[in-house]
Symmetry: C2
Subunit: 1000 residues, 2 copies
């Protein structure tokens, strides 16, 4: 009897077949049903979707619609097929236990946090907390994160996360530069001295970043000569320095003298550090550091092959106004209640356009929340116990190796040993090949030295395995865990010693207390922890409640099918610097995603390294710069940017030292091609690049896009098309087709990675073949082109693990699905525009009265007529149970509204009805029924607490305040505080949680 | 170089070691911190926890505390160790693809439902919706479930789920009996005729259940002779009949004539059916069925090796008042708004004690919700497409097999083929051994016949694999999927044919529409679905909000660590009748859990088959009955039961035809031993059993328990100790130790399985060795003792997959952890009692003023003094953001309060403060400040809508209504409707969702 072998796995039934899967993704992803689409088209006056699209996107730039052709890899997978494919790809990863360290650890994710934050759409589908009355939950959690950073580093101010440790260090370096007084600066005080024991990926990113700022990055000869080098550079040259504590090789140096020396010559000190180690170590803030940053990943976030994780970043009070990223502060609501909000900046202000030293925007909020919750769950005592245990195990390991005759190179350590294996007659290769056999990765340092970093996950059996690698390499009989237990007793250790400070740290032992605030000392049972997270969750509006019509943010459905894989062990458990043959699943995934993204954007090659849109812009400009250099035109440094551009564009240009030349817009919102031509020709010899957003930030398909690109090319420039928001064009046209040379796309917008309350994000860049040799490399794992720029992120593939989501999204939609998504995104936006036209001023449309996937509504007239500002409208819309649209950007009197394809028609109608009702409320002021000062807008939003006021002194009823339309009685999301006062909070900045803070 | 082999995996460091894990479960599970425990003890006047326990549990029955001795299997696992162990055990299961059918299918669980219901603590930690104002979400979902059953079966009434198809059928049989008019009944109209093509596990459970009711269960000779047999039995004997549609072998018979014949002789017709098939088939309600039941598992619930899944159950209007289980109905709130609640019954009423024909209590709410949501997500058109496709694939399979010369035994079919393989010269064994080689299970029917059931998960490759088993068995060259695609075209199939009714079903084709209600036609995008589930979730109070102090329900933490494994494929994907060598992981798990439960309860053997506490009681009494029979004392039929017993006790006794003799209690709440002695002696010759709850339902450790057991034993009876609520005694004493012969424990209480909003549950029975030979068997997979009773559940191990939770709970706590849990459960209850003593009448305590793990508060005095009923207190407590305690049971004027060990002290204090505040509100009525009719109690609860009333006509303020204590301003769970009117709803019973029903 023959064994029935499996049939060919590549059979894909035609869509007409009875075998076609039913669990297809497209109809689940799209909001409007087919019958809705018909109705909406008829409102717009079209017979077919294609007629509508033809009126919306200029024919000239249309491409053949993407098809489901299996040969282009874009055959759609059903949800079940996708899940099977994920299992297959996951199975290709063979994660070994990694003790490589270098900022990445095996984390224990507390299951209650994993399930209720990482795997909870109420947390991951939220946006950056720009609407504070609807975001008090995650604002509180982010302030907890800031408090962790403040408390552990010993510095007074911390932000709500940065992208990774290396870019955080680069931000620190830029802040040092920005702190140099102008006169001195101009005289060339521009050297930044880095300790050679800073992690290599950090040094690589510093190197990349230094160039653009005109900083001379100098790696010190050695830590021993550091002070001397500081003195040599002196007041004239040194603007800052950076050290790592503990350093990448594990050593814990006393940097106090060095810090003093740096300061003595007017420099600032940046320190990379480790939160867990800081529970035992004297905090850098206590020995003079100006900035402390690092990775918070080991606080309960999976390694995920490099990301996403939240970098923490703290600085002195003096430097706070130069701090990049988002900062949560405490302010108060209109009723006097405490209320959190983003402080010292709004989205647009903190990106200071061409004056910026940072372009960071999307950060790592979700992961910062996980890390903060980890600290809440463990509390200071729990963290100390964990740190103490990790350190104790490192001591047991050191002792075992010492007994075997191995020399430990670092004289002090927390969790990391650098071992000179030649001292026992071995080569590093011998040790590595032995360890690989038992599924263990050590750090490769040199032919004679290896590194081992322990972590919270290490148990007695794991440690025995580690030690036995050395016994085996020496061909000695293996030991049992009991011997290590014996050894720990010889070292006078017991379960108590894990909570005592280690003597071995000497005068660097931490004496100051940390995390004494009640929030870190209360929620230590799982029940309590769960309730705390739920208590916060219930204050936050997210996609689980309704539409988030934030223009330029693309708040679309993040399908569960695509979210499930990211929390699997096979993807979560891989160290970013593990040998690549252990990560073949990832490799496969990246290859497919890069190919798909290149195809979809109309380019030839893609790099996944940039871990945000802004980081993509920066990388893309770097690539352009390298290209010009390769042609001997490295002097080109003018970058043309329309005035309407997103703030990150000029900021990114500034960061590569490009001179920004603004381009005007015409009254109809389109690019002023004459102005462009004039400027391009004027700067012909220095023209480096043109950065343009397509469709434009005004929500229209620029008719002159091709012409514009032609002009730039003719004048020697390269075209950077900002594709952050390309949800309207996938499959219909492409960024390459319209004339771009390089673009980033925001996978956290168009490609369905959730926003996570302000990150993570992925901003891959795709480019034409002439630029592909310059795609970014990485110092540890080869990536990028043949003559690459240096790294832009700490990890080779940036926020590696979340690429799974976009990969799955593309796989499940396939070519025709992607194209359909664009069409419905256009339809949803145009349906809103059409229905609102009688009531509001739609600022820009194309000649057919069509907008792209978003629309600008100009509310300026109402400020004049009835004294209502855009923010009054935004606050009032909350009372209708909506998150407000993007406000005052890109035009200060406007709302920018983007519904996305995944909003159902009934939700669009609810939104339209709310806006019509609000328009009537405006009329009530115009007609004199209510005054300009005392009306539903000025007191909005109305949290439910106002209803309990015994006396009601408002001119409108309680019901009108909170239930302006009757459906709200059935379902309403309530703001949890009254209107938040930004000024009050900025005046008196409080960015850590209070010691007596409490929740009921 | 030797390969470094792994060290011994059995190393367990002593707790004093530095290697002891830090992620231990006990401190996460317990609410109070160590410092809280000290404070609480000092309130109670004790120096140590042990002194306190000594005063609480009678010394006489104490056992040696459970230890962590690894030899007894009770060494505690850390959370990480547990997760590794789970992976290990999961890896021992080798699930093959099963096409066994028989009521269990490979389901596709929509990921959005899996993540947001099955894996969401807000859904799974809720209780049965007894507090309707705080439970409108899941009440709505359950009414959706009822609507699915009503609409698909064609009957007007359906309940909110039963335990499984087999017990549902048994409930149906009992209803038939109960419908027989008394005179006829007494004349012996007691025969129930069952078609032989009903599933064997159903027949087995019917058999078990028939005995107790004195029913003669007769399996018809054949379906062909069914009518004749009906006629032969005739009016005098036949009380009901049962058929399956489609039957277990796949055949779809026209039962209309048979049904008419049954009715002609005054019998009722019970039909087992399949929801998916009913989308295509004429519903039984249209051809005369009185009752239709079945398994809803294939509506998106994992097979889970047999459960948990929800059985659906529908009946005629005439029979509705005999329907067992919970029924959700529509009523209205005090403000006139529509409001759902449990109809026609309260917890106590629907269990009609000794007059009961059913003891069902906990059902399968969580799984019913999943199935309902599956129907919401797919809608009628989606369900039709799925059914159409499954049926089409079955036709392709039939055609392929026919082409190969195999005879299909069943002439009609929906998804199941019975194949006579001898027709092509093969034996069934040949086919099975071939299929096993490629990882496929078919149904074993006979040496010449096999069964194949297709389902939603079958794709073209799967079907090709199936067909190739036959090609291989015939040693023919294998086919490719393309051939099946060809075949489907020959059958004129295409993707449209899956939504057309199949001609092959002839006059049994369904013509009536179903699920036309808007809820089933609206939420078909994932965004919509997610929002609908969240919209419902936000109306429901669960453990994520705060304490649920329901006495006798043990609402404790269900840890994420223990919940995670149940949704894994390795556990979810196993068919209950798959060859047991594919389920070695399960086997290991059951062996360990049975051993642990036996140890902990003080017994010798355990059966996991009963899938609820009540089902355990029934099984335990059956075992006692079998034991008496084995000793020739089968006539013993008196069961002594204290009056205070849970309603299920007398109901279970009635179901085994025991005569219930009540035993009185003394004024101090203790058992009247004299009364017991008198009755035991009086019934000496017929004494079968004594059922007693320990600790008593009054919340005290019965001092006379040992004496009581002795009396019963002396008089020839066996002792059934109801251990549903043994959360106070694990590790301190045991059910066996106090004198029990057999007990059930509710794993969904003491052992941490979440309540799921009213199920699932597991009610294993443990017994002494003399009873173990009688533990229940199963017709398909051997289980139980050497001379077992027949099956009590459809699946061999009942709700198999959720046993994982209790297994993990025990593993993570270990012996000393389990014991500590009991101590803290006692402490929490006694702390509440002590602090409330000055304000309320604590009804019963032991002689040291201690209660067990729950306490009775008597509110009777307030009805007399100020006209407040227990329900007024319960409603008012909602305004304080609590779920009310168990009310009016076991004493009608009382609250029964159980905090469990996992409530933190600050939550206990919040509860105590609320009760003290409420006591003051009582005084305000007593003092005349408010009248007896118009006060905060009578209008409670206050949903937030009342606050929008423009006119406030109440004598108390808005603030007093909703924020009686200030902390509520920070955090409050709001009831979503005003007080629900039970009477209005019962008068005008509506138990399906309306066609115009809508949500905003
Ligand atoms: C047009 C445009 N470009 C760039 C960005 C920057 O992307 P990110 O926030 O991921 O850095 C955004 C996002 O806000 C954007 O809208
Ligand atoms: C004392 C007692 N016995 C039996 C039961 C019945 O358990 P179940 O609801 O699981 O059928 C309960 C639960 O309510 C109970 O409290
Ligand atoms: O229903 C009960 O859990 O008692």
């Amino acid at each position: 009897q023959p064994h029935p072998k499996p049939p060919s796995a590549s059979f894909h039934p035609p869509t007409s077949s009875v075998f076609t899967p039913l669990d297809t993704f497209l109809p689940r992803h799209l909001g409007p049903r087919n019958s809705d689409v018909e109705q909406m088209l008829s409102v717009l006056g079209y017979k077919s979707l294609d007629d509508f699209v033809a009126d919306t996107i200029p024919q000239g730039v249309r491409v053949d619609e993407l098809s489901d052709d299996p040969t282009n890899g874009l055959r759609p997978y059903s949800e079940l097929e996708l899940s099977r494919r994920v299992d297959e790809v996951a199975g290709m990863n063979k994660p070994m236990k990694s003790y490589i360290g270098m900022g990445y650890h095996n984390a224990i994710v507390p299951p209650v946090i994993q399930r209720n934050i990482l795997e909870n759409p109420a947390w991951y589908t939220a946006y950056t907390p720009y609407s504070p009355e609807q975001s008090q939950g995650r604002l509180e959690s982010l302030i907890n994160f800031q408090t962790v950073a403040i408390s552990l580093t010993g510095l007074p101010i911390a932000n709500a996360s940065l992208l990774d440790e290396a870019t955080a260090a680069a931000e620190g370096m830029a802040m040092c530069l920005a702190s140099v007084p102008k006169p001195t600066f101009n005289k060339g005080k521009k050297v930044f001295l880095v300790s050679p024991s800073v992690a290599p990926q950090t040094i690589a990113v510093l190197q990349t970043r230094a160039d653009g700022f005109g900083i001379t990055l100098k790696v010190a000869e050695s830590d021993a000569t550091f002070v001397k080098e500081v003195e040599t550079l002196g007041q004239a040259q040194l603007m800052g320095a950076m050290v790592q504590y503990p350093d990448v090789n594990g050593d814990i140096r006393d940097w106090e003298g060095v810090t003093a020396a740096v300061k003595a010559v007017g420099g600032k000190m940046v320190v990379a550090s480790d939160l867990l180690a800081l529970t035992m170590l004297k905090p850098p803030g206590e020995w003079g550091a100006d900035i402390v940053c690092g990775n918070s990943q080991r606080f309960g976030v999976p390694a995920g092959y490099g990301g996403p994780h939240a970098a923490f970043f703290a600085c002195t009070d003096e430097m706070k106004r130069k701090m990049p990223g988002r900062l949560v502060g405490l302010s108060k609501g209109a009723r006097g209640e405490p209320a959190y909000r983003l402080a010292l900046q709004t989205r647009e202000q903190h990106i200071r356009r061409e004056k910026a030293t940072s372009n960071v925007c999307t950060a790592q909020a979700l992961l910062a929340n996980m890390a903060a919750m980890y600290a809440v769950y463990h509390g200071p005592e729990g963290l100390k116990r964990i740190a103490g245990k990790v350190h104790s195990l490192a001591r047991v390991l050191a002792k075992s190796l010492d007994n075997l005759g191995f020399k430990i190179v670092n004289s002090s350590y927390f969790d990391t040993l650098t071992i000179d294996v030649s001292s026992a007659g071995l080569s590093a290769d011998q040790v590595h090949s032995t360890s690989t056999k038992v599924g263990i990765n050590f750090r490769h340092i040199s032919p004679t030295t290896i590194g081992i970093t322990l972590d919270e996950s290490v148990g007695p059996l794991d440690l025995t395995d580690i030690v036995n690698v050395f016994y085996a390499a020496l061909t000695k009989p293996l030991i049992q865990p009991e011997s290590l237990e014996e050894l720990s007793k010889e070292l006078s250790m017991n379960s108590n010693s894990v909570s005592e400070p280690s003597q071995s740290l000497g005068k660097l032992t931490r004496t100051s207390r940390f995390l004494q605030q009640s929030v870190f000392n209360k929620h230590h049972s799982e029940t309590d922890m769960l309730r705390y997270m739920m208590h916060l969750q219930e204050k936050d509006y997210s996609l689980v409640h309704g539409m988030i019509p934030l223009g330029s943010c693309t708040m679309k459905l993040n399908s569960t099918s695509s979210m499930v894989p990211i929390s699997s062990k096979e993807f979560g458990g891989v160290h970013p610097f593990a040998p690549i043959d252990q990560a073949k699943g990832y490799k496969q995934l990246f290859t497919e995603l890069e190919r798909d993204l290149s195809l979809v954007t109309g380019y030839d090659a893609t790099s996944l390294q940039p871990n945000s849109g802004a980081s993509g812009e920066y990388a893309g400009l770097k690539v352009i710069q390298a290209y010009h250099q390769s042609k001997g035109e490295g002097h080109r440094n003018v970058c043309l940017i329309p005035l309407s551009a997103h703030g990150t564009n000029p900021a990114s240009a500034a960061m590569v030292s490009y001179k920004v030349v603004p381009i005007k817009a015409l009254v109809d919102g389109s690019l002023d091609l004459n102005d462009l031509k004039e400027k391009a020709e004027k700067h012909k010899d220095e023209l480096a690049a043109f950065m343009v957003t397509y469709p434009s930030t005004f929500g229209v398909f620029e008719e002159g896009i091709e012409e514009a690109c032609r002009i730039v090319h003719e004048n020697g420039g390269q075209v950077y098309v900002d594709g952050a928001n390309c949800n309207s064009l996938v499959g219909l046209t492409s960024l390459g087709r319209v004339g771009g040379d390089v673009s980033h796309t925001n996978l956290h917008k168009t490609f369905s990675i959730p926003h996570g309350g302000g990150g993570p994000g992925v901003g891959p860049i795709s480019c034409k073949s002439h630029l592909s040799p310059f795609l970014p490399s990485h110092p540890l794992i080869p990536t990028g082109g043949s003559t690459p720029i240096s790294a832009v992120s700490a990890a080779p593939w940036g926020s590696a693990s979340i690429n799974l989501i976009s990969w799955a999204y593309i796989k499940m939609l396939g070519g025709s699905g992607l194209t359909n998504v664009s069409k419905i995104a256009l339809l949803n936006a145009n349906y809103i525009a059409e229905r609102l036209r009688p009531y509001y001023n739609i600022r820009f449309t194309n000649k057919n009265k069509r907008v792209a996937h978003e629309l600008l509504i100009d509310l300026g007239e109402f400020e004049k007529s009835v004294g209502l500002k855009v923010s009054d409208f935004s606050k009032r819309l909350q009372d209708y149970s909506f998150h407000p649209p993007t406000a005052q950007w890109p035009i200060s009197t406007c709302w920018l509204i983007e519904p996305t394809e995944s909003e159902p028609k009934h939700e669009l109608d609810r939104f339209i009805d709310a806006l019509i009702s609000i328009r009537k409320e405006v009329d009530e002021i115009a007609s004199g029924k209510y005054t300009q000062d005392d009306n539903v807008f000025k007191h909005a939003p109305h949290p439910l607490e106002v209803l309990t006021d015994a006396e009601w002194t408002r001119p409108y009823s309680r019901e009108k305040a909170v239930f302006p339309v009757p459906t709200l009685r059935k379902s309403k999301f309530w703001p949890s505080v009254s209107r938040v006062d930004d000024a009050a909070g900025d005046l008196n900045l409080i960015c850590e949680c209070g010691t007596t803070e409490d929740y009921a």
